[in-house]
């Protein structure tokens, strides 16, 4: 039996310890926001936080996260309470197909928690393990910068209620 914190809740699983965390979270705990992309830790679609730091979970045995705190995209923010990066993602029109974006957001959130005001190079270093075939990189970079600035000033970049209410 392996226990860990999943988005703040204690969960327990009896899967073999070498099962990658990604598949445990997706199929056993039914949180499907984290994606399977490569199975080799090369593309970052499966990125979650392990004790606050971004990790590739398609190659991370679940045994390695026993008693640790795991955060997935579902724990980063919700429609009602968007993380500043999620707001910035919408403001900068980042997602296209969207498949890699959970991983991109988790990698970016880990970066901002470590470096609140990252340089271009910091962003390149932190984000180059997350592949996006739609080519959203330039917008991801802008969104991270804009979230970094907004975060410091407590600014809201996007409120879903505003968009719904847009009418002329």
């Amino acid at each position: 039996m392996i226990s860990f914190q999943l988005n703040g809740q204690t969960v327990t699983t009896d899967v073999p310890g070498d099962t990658p965390l990604l598949w445990v979270v997706r199929e056993h705990f039914r949180l499907t926001g984290s994606k399977f992309g490569c199975g080799m830790g090369l593309c970052g679609a499966c990125t979650m936080h392990l004790n606050g730091t971004a990790v590739k979970t398609c190659v991370l045995p679940v045994a390695a996260v026993a008693d640790a705190a795991i955060t997935t995209i579902e724990g980063l923010g919700t429609v009602d309470q968007l993380h500043i990066l999620q707001q910035a993602w919408i403001k900068h029109n980042v997602p296209q197909c969207g498949y890699c974006q959970s991983g991109q957001l988790m990698a970016a959130a880990s970066l901002l928690s470590q470096i609140p005001d990252p340089s271009d190079e910091d962003i390149d270093n932190a984000m180059s393990g997350n592949i996006c075939r739609c080519g959203t990189y330039p917008r991801i970079k802008q969104a991270i910068q804009s979230a970094a600035q907004a975060q410091g000033r407590g600014v809201v970049l996007f409120d879903p209620a505003d968009a719904e209410g847009v009418s002329l």
Partner: protein, 737 residues
């Protein structure tokens, strides 16, 4: 992805009666009180194939296209929103099921590709929405006795004076009113949503919160997850296998031999994936044409074919040989582009639930009608009783127009008698693609003493996509009454079936069209080693753009002319591309590169849109760094400006992956690339800054998903030439030491 039909083919299909009937606007197809549309609901007035208004006042768009990132759900919602005078954010977008009313003109089936969605749906959906608006206003006039000219539809209400009535109270009346033969569309100068970015993409919120559902996320009761151990050579057969205890592993439900591999069905995907490693397999490669093919010999075969074979004529204008003889300067060059994989972020996957007389399929597909047909053929279930659900596509780029993985999933579901979700690994995906065909081309041109092009010829050797496409698609293109065996026979014949269709248009598109030259000739030599081919973002233009725009650069230099001026003087018959090119050069500061930086330009018309790009590049050793790309696009009237920008960025980066890294190679028929470590793509670190400018146009909207791609490889290659003097004539661009 270009639709694979020239106008001739469309006409021919019409003659045969093969095209699906176009939508008759505003005519609700209701028979005996029962709607023929797949997604009709009891709570809603189904105005036509596309629009429902519910008794709660919600407006639903039944979207006939697939959302694969290109923003079509926002684009189509915007068209409907404009005519209904409400925010696209207030429209519920739901992917439609399969119905002939959703077929694309000229193809006869539902297809998202060819950068055609907005081009084809622009008027159709606006007319549909305008009809709904007309009927709602008429219904309000009838119910309130207020003259219709005093009524106005806005934000889901019909308003007059200070009063208003919600549309929910009008649907019952509207549903039985006569449908007008003609409706008035909103005038462009009144547009509130078309051409503006007032609200985020309708799919944005779901995609930043991880709640967007892709095919791989579909969860149905009692589903078994499947993984397949496949023959490493496509086309190889399973001779024998020893499950070797795989069926006893935890969670494993069943081991199933297929023609081309062995599948394991398990409770969880990881269990299935682990279990297939246990299985011992013997393959039979005797039937695989591909088993003896390696990349080195393949390229040599293409070169030999170009040298020894005359090929088929694809286009001819004037008398090129005579013009060549009298040219002051002549130039020849040979260019190569390799096979490419699509590498969508979401690997192929499909979920199938077969029941005795009906079935449901959940699959990210660009062509749900073909899915229906394939599952019908495998299961024996009538295709009208097969429901296809299309969740979000984690990238398409043409790959999800081919459905081998659907056939696999349906086969497994039938064999096992349980619902099955088949998930491909990245290795499956990279090694079993429908690849962008490799192409080798001989280019030749002659200039007169003034440096004006007199003649132009292009001769391409390579495989064609059409036979692979027809193999799958014939079933939906042929009339339903035709016997299956005959449909299959037609499918196997491929494009060679039809007289006069000598050359697959996607094999030669883009090789001569853009510039004015009095004598032109395009020829084609088919050389197909057997590696299956498919539509890959921008299709033939993906290599033609590189060939033509690099060679134009060579010709300008050969004639001692500025590469911009040289292009402009040959674009008199293509004014929109000319304007885009001129503007791109201006925006990029053509002729005035920053120190240590070099500029290259390229311009290509494709999918009826016109795109020019200028790449700013530096070269250190053999390392090519692309710092910035300036892009100008004319795609007619723009529906969502920022989505067009994102599509240009997307195409540029997708094309840059191919320009710098992309190459699929074969060794004894085995695709050598398996995953992102040996099929690398552009990442954040090597992504350039991209500045996109949109040309303000009132022309009919045209494609945006692909036209940004064709110029990029040549723009970079031309900048590298300017930096190093090396003319790179093959992709991926590789500098000599």
């Amino acid at each position: 992805m270009k639709q694979g039909f020239s106008t001739d083919r469309r006409d021919f299909l019409k003659l045969l009666g093969l095209t699906g009937g176009g939508l008759v606007l505003g005519v609700p197809l209701i028979v005996n009180g029962e709607s023929l549309y797949p997604d009709s609901r009891a709570d809603a007035w189904q105005a036509d194939a596309f629009i429902q208004v519910t008794d709660q006042g919600r407006v639903r768009l039944l979207m006939p296209q697939a959302e694969m990132g290109q923003g079509v759900s926002m684009g189509l919602a915007t068209l409907v929103a404009e005519e209904l005078n409400m925010s696209p954010a207030q429209i519920e977008v739901q992917v439609a099921g399969v119905h002939k009313a959703y077929a694309m003109k000229g193809i006869g089936t539902q297809l998202t590709g060819g950068s055609a969605s907005i081009r084809e749906r622009y008027l159709q959906l606006r007319q549909s929405a305008a009809t709904v608006k007309h009927l709602l206003l008429q219904a309000a006039a009838q119910q309130t006795q207020v003259p219709v000219q005093d009524l106005r539809l806005r934000n889901g209400f019909v308003e007059w004076g200070t009063e208003r009535v919600p549309v929910s109270e009008l649907v019952a009346t509207a549903a039985v009113l006569p449908v007008p033969e003609a409706v008035t569309l909103t005038q462009p100068d009144q547009f509130l949503w078309i051409g503006h970015d007032r609200t985020p993409r309708v799919d944005a919120l779901a995609k930043v919160t991880g709640t967007a559902v892709f095919g791989i996320d579909v969860e149905i009761p009692d589903v078994k997850r499947a993984a397949i151990k496949r023959c490493p050579v496509i086309g190889g057969r399973l001779k024998d296998f020893n499950a070797n205890g795989a069926e006893q592993l935890p969670g494993v439900f069943q081991v199933i031999g297929l023609d081309h591999g062995v599948a394991v069905l398990a409770q969880h995907f990881w269990q299935a994936k682990q279990a297939i490693q246990q299985i011992e397999v013997e393959w039979d490669l005797s039937m695989s044409k591909l088993a003896n093919v390696s990349s080195a010999s393949l390229e040599a075969d293409l070169a030999t074919a170009l040298q020894q074979q005359e090929g088929d004529e694809a286009f001819k204008l004037g008398d090129g040989e005579k013009a060549l003889a009298s040219s002051a300067t002549t130039l020849t060059a040979q260019y190569y582009a390799p096979y490419l994989a699509h590498a969508t972020m979401e690997p192929m996957n499909c979920t199938v639930h077969l029941q005795p007389r009906q079935a449901e399929v959940w699959v990210g597909t660009q062509a749900p009608g073909i899915v229906q047909d394939i599952v019908a053929e495998i299961s024996g279930i009538n295709r009208d009783n097969i429901q296809v659900h299309t969740p979000y596509l984690g990238g398409g780029f043409g790959r999800r127009g081919f459905h081998d993985f659907v056939a696999e999933a349906a086969t497994l579901a039938k064999a096992a008698g349980v619902p099955v979700q088949l998930v491909w690994t990245r290795e499956d995906d990279t090694q079993n693609d429908y690849y962008r065909p490799a192409a080798l081309v001989d280019l030749q041109a002659g200039l007169d003493e003034q440096g004006q092009l007199q003649c132009w010829s292009a001769k391409r050797a390579g495989a064609n996509i059409m036979p692979y496409m027809m193999d799958e698609a014939m079933g939906v293109m042929m009339p339903g009454f035709m016997p299956r065996s005959l449909v299959n026979w037609f499918g196997k014949r491929g494009y060679g079936l039809f007289d006069g269709w000598v050359v697959d248009p996607t094999s030669v598109e883009g090789l001569h069209e853009d510039y004015s030259v009095p004598h032109k000739e395009v020829r084609h030599v088919t050389v197909d080693p057997g590696l299956r081919c498919g539509f890959w973002r921008s299709v033939g233009h993906s290599f033609s753009g590189f060939f033509v725009e690099s060679f134009m650069d060579e010709l300008a230099h050969a004639g001692g002319q500025d590469t911009l001026a040289f292009r402009l003087r040959h674009l008199q018959d293509n004014p929109r591309l000319k304007q885009a090119l001129q503007q791109a050069a201006n925006k990029a500061g053509w002729g005035k590169p920053k120190p240590g930086r070099f500029l290259g330009l390229a311009a290509v018309s494709s999918f009826e849109s016109h795109v020019a790009e200028v790449a700013e590049v530096s070269v250190v050793g053999r390392q090519i760094q692309v710092h910035r790309v300036v892009c100008v696009v004319d795609c007619g009237r723009v529906i969502n400006p920022d989505i067009v920008r994102t599509q240009m960025e997307s195409s540029i980066i997708y094309g840059l992956s191919a320009a710098l890294y992309g190459e699929i190679t074969l060794e004894d028929g085995v695709v050598q690339q398996t995953n992102f470590h040996n099929y690398p793509v552009v990442t954040m670190r090597d992504a350039p800054v991209i500045d996109v400018y949109l040309i303000d146009s009132e022309a009919h909207p045209t494609g945006a998903g692909e036209p940004g791609l064709p110029p990029i490889a040549a723009a970079v290659g031309n900048a590298v030439f300017s930096a190093t003097g090396q003319r790179l004539r093959r992709l991926p661009l590789t500098l000599e030491v």
